[in-house]
């Protein structure tokens, strides 16, 4: 036989092609499989997701509790919080998608002891957001009420997060949104970004400032529209409950969910995301909520009322010495609360002066 013979040459080329195909499939497979064992923390039948607490899986995930998509909806139906499972974790190196297959319950004796996920009152779209205080990258105290009248996009990170799909991706997306908003001065001045760290012990103001500058291309002017802040652990737990954020420190790293909240100019929740979003969708939602709610002084006032007044005047605390009155129809009455005629400016001015028990009014 001779290689120059056409029949032999085609056989050789065919074999070489097969060998190269085999090499490509062995050396360059874009999907990798990792065995996973863990415990079900919660499940979401609507999105076919289960949150699994698991140990370190080298090359795939560090020890954490995180949501995974499951291919088969019937499996999600069957699983219950507290179940111990074994599964195959898959990650596509190109698209960065990951999911679970072949999920098997290895022990269901923990079902009855499973704790309900921590979310006693998670805010839903349309609800007023309580006023919350933070310390930002400059060491200055900021309140959500500072952003009344603006579309405020909030997310949660910790600066040491080593998972590129998590905090680095969130901050990168926020940086992209910041870049785009900056191109339109009209929208830029009416929007704000807020990145909150749930690791206040490590993420002090100087650490947050350094982190923020890295995403602002070292332009400190960007902090005027994008704050990086944290608060004390007790308040952080309360804030996490309000926004459905779950996080847990373990072995010097923090496992956490990814949550984004859009607060409208009126101080209510406009939209919440915990999975599946793009930066363009986030930015468009900001612009939509901004343009649909308008920019009237009533909208700004409504937000301030929600942040500063509603907690007393809407949900009265029975332990208070003097019960704060309902303010609905305040200006429909013949006299205002302080007994003065309900002429808006005069009445409000006198309220500010006379309303002793209200700490907010006296401090305004």
């Amino acid at each position: 036989m001779h290689l120059e013979e056409p029949r032999v040459r085609s056989k050789v080329l065919g074999t070489l092609g097969f060998v190269l195909f085999l090499a490509a499939s062995v050396g360059c497979a874009s999907t990798k499989k990792y065995p996973l064992q863990g415990e079900i923390v919660s499940k979401n039948v609507a999105t076919n997701e289960i949150t699994v607490k698991h140990g370190d899986i080298p090359g795939f995930m560090p020890a954490m509790a995180m949501p995974y998509h499951v291919q088969d909806p019937a499996v999600v139906q069957e699983l219950q919080p507290g179940d111990k499972i074994a599964a195959e974790g898959f990650v596509n190196k190109d698209t960065k998608e990951y999911w679970l297959e072949d999920v098997r319950i290895t022990d269901e004796s923990g079902r009855s002891q499973a704790k309900t996920p921590v979310a006693p009152h998670m805010l839903i779209p349309g609800e007023r957001v309580p006023n919350m205080a933070f310390v930002n990258q400059d060491g200055r105290t900021i309140h959500l009420s500072d952003f009344a009248g603006k579309a405020l996009l909030v997310t949660f990170i910790y600066t040491r997060c080593p998972m590129p799909n998590f905090c680095p991706r969130l901050s990168s997306q926020f940086a992209k949104i910041h870049d785009e908003l900056k191109k339109n001065p009209g929208d830029y001045s009416k929007t704000h970004l807020l990145t909150i760290s749930f690791d206040p012990k490590y993420d002090t103001p100087p650490v947050l400032r350094k982190y923020g500058l890295a995403y602002l291309d070292d332009d400190a002017n960007g902090f005027s529209q994008w704050d990086f802040a944290s608060t004390n652990p007790a308040d952080m737990a309360r804030i996490a409950q309000a926004f459905g954020l779950q996080y847990q420190e373990e072995d010097n790293q923090i496992s956490h969910t990814m949550n984004i909240v859009l607060i409208g100019p009126d101080g209510t929740v406009a939209k919440l995301w915990s999975t599946d979003w793009t930066w363009t969708e986030l930015m468009e939602s900001m612009q939509q909520t901004l343009h649909s709610s308008g920019q009237s002084s009533e909208i700004h006032g409504r937000a301030l009322y929600g942040y500063l007044c509603a907690s007393c005047h809407e949900f009265v605390n029975p332990d208070l010495r003097k019960e704060p009155p309902k303010l609905h129809g305040l200006f429909l009455a013949r006299t205002c609360l302080a007994g003065h005629p309900p002429l808006m400016n005069r009445c409000t001015t006198r309220l500010l002066r006379d309303c002793g028990p209200c700490p907010l009014l006296t401090s305004l």
Binding site: M1, V19, A24, R160, P164, P168, S171, A214, Q253
Partner: protein, 113 residues
């Protein structure tokens, strides 16, 4: 037939070369560093997530250049400092990696060509 056999053998040699890169013998410290690299560094530095603000640099041949991608001198101390304290958008590995871990990582990075 002999030529055909040689061709097949050569093809399988090619296959094995493509699937596994040749590895020189590593010391125990370098092997520890390799494990740490695979666990903590490879995901960003080998195959960066396309949405990241700044693409993490490839670390192969890091110590062959005089300067690190950041422009800082390519010294063991500088690389260890970057691992523990972070730099730019790279997170600090403080608390998660000890200085001894950083030394093992640096030892492996010297071998990563």
């Amino acid at each position: 037939m002999v030529r055909w056999g040689k061709l097949m053998a050569g093809s399988f040699l090619l296959l094995s070369l493509m699937a596994c890169s040749p590895s020189e013998k590593l010391t125990n410290t370098e092997i520890q560093g390799q494990w740490l690299y695979d666990d903590h560094c490879a995901e960003c530095h080998e195959n960066p997530h396309p949405e990241l603000r700044k693409q993490p640099p490839n670390l192969h041949g890091l110590f062959l250049a005089k300067a690190l991608p950041s422009g800082a001198p390519a010294t063991d101390e500088q690389v260890s400092k970057t691992i523990i304290e972070g730099r730019g958008t790279m997170p600090a590995f403080d608390k998660r990696l000890r200085e001894a871990d950083a030394r093992e990582l640096v030892a492996y990075l010297h071998k990563l060509k």
